[in-house]
Symmetry: C2
Subunit: 190 residues, 2 copies
């Protein structure tokens, strides 16, 4: 399982095996069952999660009980309520498991400790967040532009396996479209 994290970090920065073992010692493995809640709105958020297997969703339910999906997280993706995590505030979103999931949890304190002790890990986390920021800005733009096909294509580019792993109504909730529109997009793209 640790090999996945090692490979993931190696795509961005170089660590010796000893350095990686030290980094890994700051993570805690956790297992969740399908449907289990990882973060719930209003709770304290102390950790972020590197997904090893399975799939999670970060979502928000508004006053009219409509669900908005902010992010799916698949193996080698990170997930948390980053607003709450970074600002030591209460969660404003929920994260739960679409399937059984194995993750490596990293606490705020341990991430900051690693970043303070190892310049190379500060670099890793800087470059990781840069990618997240850019992805978020692109999604914002396609959402403003109401370009459903682009949002669909971006999602499928990011994770081609998603369409088979995630129930269709959740993909529709991510895109902000009806299931009928999603079917049209899917059939149009084949």
């Amino acid at each position: 399982m640790a090999a996945q994290l090692q490979e993931h970090i190696a795509k961005t920065v170089s660590l010796t095996n000893e350095q990686f073992a030290y980094v890994l010692s700051h993570f805690t493995p956790r297992s969740f069952k399908k449907g289990q809640v990882i973060i719930s709105e209003g709770s304290r958020v102390e950790e972020e999660y590197f997904v090893l297997s399975g799939c999670t969703k970060a979502f928000y339910i508004n006053d009219e009980t409509k669900m908005y999906i902010l992010q799916f997280a698949m193996p080698t993706w990170w997930t948390s309520d980053y607003h709450a995590l970074y600002s030591h505030d209460k969660a404003t979103i929920n994260i739960d498991c679409i399937t059984d999931a194995e993750v490596l949890a990293l606490s705020n304190d341990n991430r900051e400790k690693l970043c303070a002790e190892m310049h190379v890990m500060e670099r890793f986390f800087r470059l990781r967040t840069n990618k997240g920021y850019v992805a978020s800005q692109r999604r914002l733009l396609s959402l403003m532009n109401n370009d459903t096909r682009k949002r669909y294509e971006e999602l499928m580019d990011q994770y081609p396996a998603l369409y088979n792993m995630v129930p269709k109504h959740l993909i529709a909730a991510y895109l902000g479209v009806s299931r009928e529109t999603l079917s049209r997009l899917y059939n149009g793209s084949k």
Copy 2:
């Protein structure tokens, strides 16, 4: 002018005066006139900008010639096409000046040089991007939720002076609403 950058960095990390002077030597001052283009769609992007005075807008115009505003940048804000900057790709958005503007330009190469040489600057840029990521996620959520009032309030919280500095049709384009809806929001919030 440099004092603004020094204060801005000091909110996140501590630098000695000597360290700051070294950091500053990697920036280039630039002046732009009202309406002048800083980044245009399709061009190469080599720099990001720390705004000292004035106001810029990052925007995208779709096929139907409708304008979407991704970001305003005011004094002490950073702006660029970060997708293009980080991935050495061509710009997919435009940035121009709403008013005359003074900025400090930092090239990709100089930022990476500073980050490699100074752990403390790697930290600064990591924490800066963390904030940007969180703001972007929150805007995404309020956009998905179509909560215009919240988007308006978030914008006014971020920069209270905006309403008087920026033409109303641009604020409306940022929020994705008509000018009439914007007036209602403004009058409702007084």
